[in-house]
């Protein structure tokens, strides 16, 4: 199906704001932080101009931003927030709360490094640090995916009652303009039905949400055995486990409605005959395809695997995509200190017990806005090709592409 709607040249933040607007968000609460601020500015402009019928709450902190969103979501409003870096870290408690309360709020994470020392530029340490909060995490490669993912995110979140975070690289995408197709409001309205909350806030039918919960199950006043804390945690895990199916279904339906299909949790580039696979996330996936092209010209069978969905981690999809690989080179814009890049750990974990017996190399790149050039990725892969031996499947620690 051909693309519909109109194409404009937008930066990532504007694409995010347009995505929120098209999703008809009803409550917006956000606190400015570089490089996310233009998202909140644009949305407040939409509201003040009357182009978006939403409540815009200019909160005093990120913690409050998400508290506003969770409570608004409990009432039944579609809620939107956006943050970066320290702001996301400051939200940490509320991130857990939103997921634990099973509220389908949305967060645009404009990926930025975290201090100390201060740094406003891009890496993915902020969102990776939040991977265990129970949120679905989707990473966009370009500005079109930012917009498309937001619209899909509300469908996903409101189907499985799990909050969704769409992450995109600060400045590299947030402040870089590129062509973005804007679907029509009518088409989005058809695709995204109104939010139906599972919560009830009505004095005539009083319910109390998220009281202290015992370790063990407890019988309610009617004699029905209700969950203990652990059963509620299981349900959240189950929801994320099962959400893969919803994510793919929503992505397919999005394709049918708008002509851009998101039918996988992954982005695969020239994987069919590749025995060497570059793994990356976010905008780096684009740069990695340039590197793969260079390596192909040099005679290496190189492909790229981009992780679109990081939580739930698509283990089975990853194993299948890496089936033919003999060398996997994972580039991480984050570091789990004392171990390695987070995506590398996830890839290794996914491959455990599979038939894939590939050498895995991990490179930490691009922290704090350090530019990552295709030729550097090429160099790293070339070095890995030289060291790729059966008896040297993995290294204890990753290699850093920096000047130390």
């Amino acid at each position: 199906m051909a693309e519909k709607g109109s194409t404009r040249i937008l930066d990532g933040n504007n694409a995010a704001a347009q995505g929120a607007k098209l999703s008809r968000v009803q409550v917006i609460a956000a606190y400015p932080i570089t490089p996310q601020s233009p998202v909140t500015e644009k949305l407040s402009e939409f509201v003040e101009k009357g182009e978006l019928d939403a409540q815009y709450v200019a909160v005093e902190s990120e913690h409050s931003a998400l508290a506003v969103c969770t409570s608004a979501s409990t009432v039944g409003a579609r809620a939107f927030t956006a943050s970066s870096s320290h702001g996301l870290a400051y939200m940490h408690e509320m991130l857990h709360w939103a997921a634990g309360a099973r509220l389908p709020v949305f967060l645009a994470c404009v990926n930025r490094a975290i201090g100390a020392p201060w740094n406003v530029l891009n890496d993915q340490q902020d969102s990776i640090s939040q991977r265990d909060t129970g949120w679905i995490q989707i990473y966009a490669r370009n500005n079109q995916e930012i917009l498309d993912s937001i619209i899909q995110a509300y469908r996903i979140a409101e189907s499985v009652y799990v909050p969704v975070m769409v992450c995109y690289d600060g400045f590299v995408l947030s402040h870089t303009e590129m062509p973005v197709n804007l679907p029509s409001q009518e088409d989005v309205d058809r695709f995204l039905p109104p939010y139906k909350p599972h919560t009830i806030l009505d004095p005539a039918n009083p319910r109390n949400y998220n009281l202290v919960t015992f370790a063990n199950p407890r019988v309610n006043a009617e004699g029905v055995l209700c969950h203990g804390y652990m059963e509620l945690r299981y349900l959240l895990q189950e929801a994320l486990q099962n959400s893969r199916e919803t994510i793919i279904k929503v992505g397919q339906e999005f394709g049918e409605a708008f002509g851009r299909t998101y039918s996988s949790t992954l982005w695969a580039n020239r994987l069919d005959d590749a025995n060497t696979v570059i793994v990356a996330m976010g905008s780096l996936v684009m740069e990695a395809t340039v590197a793969a092209d260079i390596l192909r010209e040099a005679g290496h069978k190189v492909g790229v695997l981009g992780l679109r969905v990081f939580r739930p981690f698509p283990k089975a999809d990853v194993v299948k995509a890496l089936e033919k690989s003999r060398l996997i080179v994972v580039f991480d814009k984050n570091i789990s200190y004392g171990l390695e890049g987070a995506t590398c750990s996830e890839i290794k974990s996914a491959l455990y017990g599979s038939s894939v017996r590939a050498v895995i190399r991990n490179f930490i790149v691009g922290l704090g806005g350090r530019d990552v050039k295709a030729r550097e990725l090429v160099d790293a892969v070339n070095r890995s090709l030289l060291s790729a031996k059966e008896d040297d499947l993995t290294r204890e620690y990753p290699e850093w592409i920096c000047a130390i």
């Binding site: 109390n208 009281l211 209700c226 969950h227 059963e231």
Partner: protein, 94 residues
């Protein structure tokens, strides 16, 4: 049988009396109303009701005569202290 039957996807609670159980069991002493002294009992009509007003646990009825729900009365003794007619005494539980 598991806990799925409750159909909650988050911790959603509904109101009921006695959430903490029979809180009357917490008492070390219990209130006794002397109808000879209680203004409501003596006047045999709605009056005073200060014990009802000040009870933290809403276990005293606003009726003629006044009644105390001993299943849930925690025995704090506020009613005995507040009663202007000194009609309520606290008796130690056996």
């Amino acid at each position: 049988m598991g806990t799925r039957d409750c159909q909650h996807i988050c911790a959603e609670s509904s109101p009921a009396i006695g959430e903490a159980g029979k809180t009357g069991e917490w008492r070390d002493s219990f209130p006794v109303i002397d109808p000879e002294k209680c203004v409501v009992a003596r006047q045999n009509k709605p009056a005073c009701f200060l014990c009802w007003l000040y009870c933290p646990d809403a276990v005293i009825t606003k009726t003629v005569p006044i009644q105390i729900d001993m299943e849930y009365c925690k025995g704090c003794g506020i009613c005995a202290q507040i009663c202007p007619a000194h009609a309520i005494s606290m008796i130690r539980e056996q």
